[in-house]
């Protein structure tokens, strides 16, 4: 009897275990600081037109208690970020801070932030592809005003666009190096403008060109390049997609043809690309800065990077597009110290510290001035990204985009094994991509 109970319990715990983590927030979330805020705004109304410095001075004056804040940065950024936090504290000697730093990868910050927004850190770093889910989940404070520098003016236009949703700015751009471009071996390719010429050169050398075509993040490059779009609806969850519009079958056919060459291969994972480059089978690959060191080591002096090439679509040469990627700093609106959190976010992303971040960590800055500096331009990977930036678009897609587009990419690059009519194939994928969230 006991064993049965135990087995049932185990089954129950297993089945529900994954869900239990969401937990509950505080029992009675009350209006925080509301009275204080009212007092202060009354006070500031008396004074002459307030400036940004006044706002900060008001904040310092209004802060009596210790300012406790939690910050998340990636594992690799811990030491660097801790340094910035320490110097931030020293800027406001009158205020007692208690700032704790946690380690969390930018790539999946949303998973933990959205699990319990009220318990999430006050300031956190995230990759810009999560912005719509974070805004939708109420995890990002709108940047209504800036105090120490102008976020919109000082950062690259693309990064500001990526931090903006429905016309409102929600985050502070930190780096501009999270997109993809082409890595190639200079000894194999003389010209990397078009995929066709690259394929014949690779053939001659007996090498392969790799791209993660069965991955929605990458195969977007073909469709968007040919002018077919996928975008997020205003609800912030579902997508609009015209990958099945007339002419789109040309793109599908182009990917099938590329797959048939046998030289242009699909990599399932990042690791496959690095392995292929290390063992010498792959001479060109579409990837991002995160693989730069490994690839540079394999190719040595022949290491080179460029914008994505063109591909033949319906008889014409079409430039491949890409998702641009930025890393951002966001402020949690459920923070008890939103004001201080915003000031810290500004500090972590200001021009000076973006340069410092590039020097310390090799991450490409989003700040216009910092990005234009010679040191940054000298890095081939970051230069290639800048070149690709002209054809890149920020990632604005809802969750339903990924799985259907992965499958579409896989079907096409494997040569459409079932022989399904291309239009039907695209129609089915688009239906999945644009499906309502049920």
């Amino acid at each position: 009897m006991k064993k049965k109970g135990l087995a049932l319990l185990m089954a129950a715990t297993l089945a529900f275990g994954a869900l239990v983590g969401c937990g509950g927030g505080e029992a009675s979330p009350a209006a925080e600081d509301s009275t204080q805020a009212a007092d202060d705004s009354a006070a500031s109304d008396d004074s002459a037109p307030a400036t940004n410095e006044d706002a900060v001075a008001n904040l310092v004056a209004a802060t009596k208690d210790t300012v406790a804040m939690a910050v998340w940065a990636s594992e690799e950024d811990q030491e660097f970020t801790q340094g910035l936090i320490d110097s931030f504290k020293s800027q406001y000697p009158d205020v007692t801070f208690d700032i704790t730093l946690g380690a969390k990868s930018e790539a999946d910050a949303k998973d933990d932030v959205l699990a319990d927004v009220e318990a999430a850190p006050d300031v956190y770093a995230f990759a810009d592809d999560q912005i719509n889910e974070l805004v939708n989940g109420g995890a990002l404070q709108e940047v209504v005003s800036t105090y120490t520098y102008d976020v919109k003016d000082e950062n690259l236009a693309g990064s500001v666009e990526a931090a903006t949703l429905n016309g409102k700015l929600y985050a502070y751009p930190m780096t501009a190096d999270n997109g993809y471009f082409l890595y190639y071996d200079k000894s194999v390719f003389s010209n990397v403008d078009s995929l066709d010429s690259m394929i014949s050169e690779a053939d001659a050398a007996g090498k392969k060109i790799a791209m993660m075509v069965s991955n929605a993040w990458y195969n977007y490059a073909f469709f968007k390049g040919a002018g077919f779009d996928v975008s997020l609806n205003e609800d912030g969850v579902t997508n609009t997609c015209n990958w099945n519009a007339s002419g789109a079958t040309d793109v599908a056919q182009a990917i099938i043809d590329l797959g048939k060459t046998g030289t242009f291969i699909d990599a399932k994972e990042d690791a496959d690309i690095v392995t292929g480059i290390t063992d010498g089978t792959i001479a060109a690959a579409v990837s991002g800065v995160w693989n730069a060191d490994a690839i540079k080591e394999a190719w040595g002096d022949n290491f080179a990077a460029a914008k994505l090439p063109t591909f033949t679509c319906g008889g014409k040469q079409v430039q491949m597009s890409s998702f641009s990627g930025y890393k951002m700093i966001g402020v949690n609106p459920h923070s008890k110290n939103v004001g201080w959190a915003m000031l810290l976010a500004e500090y972590l992303t200001n021009a000076e510290n973006q340069v410092a971040r590039f020097e310390a960590r090799g991450l490409g800055p989003a700040n216009t001035e910092a990005a234009a500096s010679e040191a940054v331009q000298a890095s081939p990977a970051i230069a290639a990204l800048a070149e690709q930036a002209a054809y890149a678009t920020p990632q604005r897609v809802g969750g339903n985009y990924w799985d259907p587009a992965n499958t579409l990419g896989l079907t096409l690059i494997s040569g459409n094994p079932d022989g399904t009519d291309l239009q039907t194939l695209l129609d089915n994928a688009v239906e999945g991509i644009t499906a309502p969230v049920e």
């Binding site: 089954a11 869900l19 009220e118 896989l410 040569g415």
Partner: protein, 485 residues
């Protein structure tokens, strides 16, 4: 007191309420007063401290109702109506937050409140009964047999002697309620709401939608393919559970027999080697194996160097456009590999259990079989296997249920590397190799589709429970020990 203990032996629903009615009908004024003021009966029957304690509990309950249960339960029907709004004053950098409703907190608190109310009703009933019992003892005619009413100290002491089981069980019961029962009720409730990406508290509200989610899991169109995906995944989940349980069991028993065989040299060394495999954490092994068998993994490069890949291509086991063996990236290969890798990972455990069982096979039966001229195979089929099955039957059932929920093997081997070629599956975020539980995990963790995940969770729970109950009642119904002998 005596007839009461008799009644306790067999709980009867009618008897339970009959006692209550008797207590109310025959109780004196103080017992009747206890219906409103719970401590009254105790206080007027010489148990003043208990009376005060019970009254405190009653007051606490009433306070709980007013300040906790009522505000939450009032919103339970709608799960909240006031959306979160926050305004930041750019001049002062201070924020103002409205008094918003958090649907999840309302749901959670309402369920806790309901739970407390039910508990209180039971407490109230048992209070009425024990107060009446006191009255009976108090009013009994004076004689040598008359029981004395316990003092408070005596009551406390009894919790450490004759009623010690209550003291011991209090903490585990509380733990089970907090960790299992309440979360399960909350999750069941979520299956009937629209809690998903577009309705995420605290910023948005979610509300009741009745059976809509259950309809969706059975519906089938290109946009809502949950029904299609559910059938496919359920089929594979059950097939996988059967395959995984049987294969590891059979190979485990065989391995144990080989190692136990008298002709095997150094049995201890072999056993230790297999146990070392257990010592390495499973997920480390699985992640390593996954890279070995990746499309560009080491196994693939060995196979292509040896010409195995070309051979498999020529016999049609690998499709023509591939230049690698899709061990973990095409449906049939992946399913085959998952079962194989699971054998490798799971056999050592089964071997350990089987070794213990085999050592306990009654020697006389095997001896007499030998004398009767049975060969080794006959002995195995007619004596060893039935014995092992008899002993291990219940644990096989637990294994089966565990395999239905075997998250590790499937998720770690196929996450990211397996992409479904089936658009209909992709449209509901599923893959051919997903089990219900891995699908559930991806739905919650990557798509925040809590409501569908809850529905799947309930279904997994029902399946596991049905299998467990059915097979346990059949396998250990009555006393089967006699059957075997």
């Amino acid at each position: 007191m005596k007839d009461n203990t008799n009644k306790k032996e067999r709980f009867s629903f009618v008897g339970y309420f009959k006692d209550l009615v008797t207590a109310i009908a025959k109780g004196d004024w103080s017992v009747k007063l206890s219906m409103l003021f719970m401590g009254a009966g105790y206080t007027f029957h010489k148990q003043v401290i208990k009376g005060i304690l019970v009254t405190i509990i009653e007051i606490a309950f009433i306070m709980m109702c007013i300040f906790y249960a009522a505000p939450n339960l009032a919103k339970f029907g709608t799960l909240g109506t006031v959306q979160f709004e926050q305004v930041l004053d750019p001049l002062t950098l201070q924020t103002t937050v409205n008094d918003y409703d958090n649907s999840f907190t309302i749901l959670l608190n309402s369920i806790i409140a309901l739970f407390l109310i039910v508990c209180f009703v039971f407490f109230w009933i048992s209070n009425m009964k024990s107060v009446y019992r006191l009255q009976v003892i108090d009013n009994a005619p004076d004689s040598l047999l008359k029981k004395r009413i316990n003092t408070f100290i005596e009551d406390i002491n009894s919790l450490f002697s004759e009623k010690f089981h209550l003291t011991l069980l209090a903490l585990p019961t509380l733990g089970v309620i907090l960790m299992n029962i309440i979360p399960i009720f909350v999750m069941i409730a979520i299956a009937f709401t629209n809690y998903d990406q577009s309705h995420m508290p605290p910023n948005a509200l979610f509300t009741w939608v009745g059976f809509a989610n259950f309809k969706n899991i059975l519906a089938n169109s290109m946009t809502v393919t949950f029904g299609y995906a559910f059938k496919k995944i359920l089929g594979w989940t059950l097939l996988w559970a059967v395959l995984a349980t049987l294969t590891t069991f059979i190979f485990g028993v065989l391995l144990a027999m080989f190692i136990n065989s008298r002709t095997t040299k150094w049995p201890k060394m072999w056993r230790t080697l297999f146990i070392v495999a257990i010592a390495v954490p499973q997920f480390v092994t699985l992640l390593l194996v996954r890279y070995f068998f990746g499309d560009t993994g080491i196994v693939n490069s060995i196979c292509s160097n040896l010409g195995v890949t070309e051979f498999l291509k020529s016999v049609g086991l690998v499709s023509q456009h591939l230049n690698y063996i899709p061990f973990l990236s095409s449906e049939h290969w992946a399913k085959f590999m998952i079962v194989m890798i699971n054998i490798w990972v799971g056999v050592p455990y089964q071997m350990l259990i089987a070794t213990g069982v085999l050592m306990n096979i009654p020697g006389d039966q095997i001896e007499s079989a030998k004398i009767d001229g049975a060969n080794k195979f006959q002995t195995f089929v007619s004596i060893t296997m039935p014995y092992v099955l008899f002993i291990q039957g219940p644990s096989l059932i637990t294994d089966f249920v565990k395999n239905i929920n075997n998250f590790n093997v499937i998720y770690l081997l196929t996450n990211n590397s397996f992409i479904t070629p089936d658009q209909a599956l992709a449209n509901s975020n599923a893959k051919e190799v997903d089990l219900l539980v891995t699908w559930l995990f991806r739905l919650t963790n990557e798509y925040y589709n809590y409501k569908m995940a809850s529905v799947i969770g309930i279904i997994v729970f029902i399946i596991s429970a049905v299998f467990t109950i059915l097979s346990f009642t059949r396998m250990i119904a009555g006393d089967r020990e006699g059957d075997y002998q």
